[in-house]
Amino acid sequence: MIVLDNVCKTYSTGVSALNGVNLRIRKGEFVFIVGSSGSGKTTLFKLLLKELEPTSGKIYINSQNIGRLRRRKIPKMRRGIGVVFQDFRLLKDRNVYENIAFAQRVIGKPAKVIKETVPQMLTLVGLADKAESMPNELSGGEQQRVSLARALVNNPPVLLADEPTGNLDPANAWEIMKLLEDINKRGTTVVVVTHNRDIVERMQKRVITIDKGVVVSDEKGGITNDW
């Protein structure tokens, strides 16, 4: 599903963020990518979204070499990846329903489909009664649920989450993780970039550790090296 083949990324400033990363994430897996600040996690995240180009190496998503993708094909590729951020990135001038519907409007889904799927997503993330609420009326955990619903409403096969629990208290963080696990059980490949050691250990999933741009460990069962 996701393959990184000897991927290197050096920024124009000369900083080497990734240095020969090889990864293979299978369809339906739940993977944590961990590492200290500046280890190269965010660079990896951006490379997967084709926000950055690798300096060398190849990246495959769904057997497609995204390095060879033409610019006008990028939007279609991104529609196959749901994205969740630490700071939720909700549109503050629109209510919960509109925030989720926005993801469908952007890709031109008909109004009828939007009316059907948005309530389904709200139910999935446990916010069926908050459709009319504005983002600033929600708790951090609720906002991240809306963000998750938005990421999943177009039914992407892959979900990328960048520090999804970074702004949440432990209880809310755990709820979000359980929600991600549920989503994974439905068949979505989930990749979570995180700092949260506690959560990683409790979840008992595959953990890839990056340090100074190199994969230093790749283990199953939540076993983590120091980072």
Binding site: V83, L91, R105, I107
Partner: protein
Amino acid sequence: MIGRIFYAIRQGFKNIGRNRLFSLASVGTITACLFIFGIFYCIVANFQYMVHAAESNVGVTVFFDETTTEEQMLEIQRLIDVREEVSSTTYISADQAWQNFKQDYFPDGDEGILAGLDQDNPLVDCASVQVYLADTSRQAELISYIKGLAGVSEVNASDIIADSFTNFSRLIGYVSIGIILILVFVAIFLISNTVMIGITVRKEEIAIMKYIGATDFFVRGPFLVEGMTIGLIGSAIPVVVLRLLYPMVVDFVLEHFSILNRILTFMDVNDVFNILIPISLAIGLGIGFIGSYMTLRKHVRV
């Protein structure tokens, strides 16, 4: 596709609403630019109209050799008449020339002293063809052509008048093109700034759109609509104002400068605005499109 176009239009209008102050400033600037353009256009168009009217009074007079027969003269007139730069020709026979002379110099009808000459026309060799030019810039070319025709003895023309008209007309044209170009650049810069502000305000929304998989068209569409709408409104206002002002100004000038009435012949309001309206609206739309597209190309890429 139609749904996305409507979305872009709806969002474009929302952007204008959200960015009210900056949009107003841009509309105001384009209005000012196109108002000046409109004034210039009215002046230039009317000047050219007056020059054209004056040009039709600038003539070339062709005289013939003594041996040239009237048939040959008429043939020469025909040859001149078919040329592109010629607007019209008039053949003045020797008799007609004599009658004109008498009319000019003895208008009181005191022809007694001249009566005897009617039978012996002193202007017998003064038959001529008056040539009026459609394009005075080609007067020299025409004169050289006429001089080359067999039977022609002399060609009289006023080079200074023809050259002055041509040069003045050209000068006005260059000056107006220069001013219009500067104004267009200023307007494009302002639209570009307004759209840039819109992009900055909606930076987060644009970033989210990109991650969700929005196409360039979808992200840029509302901004293009915003820029083009501002351009269109900014161009419609001066056109309406000028349309109302034009007849008033013409009446005012004709009333207060009646001494110049013979020189000042103004174009009909419909003739001016049938051209000015589409040009202004196209410039407004163009400025809006170019201003916003340039900014979007630079700052909004998926």
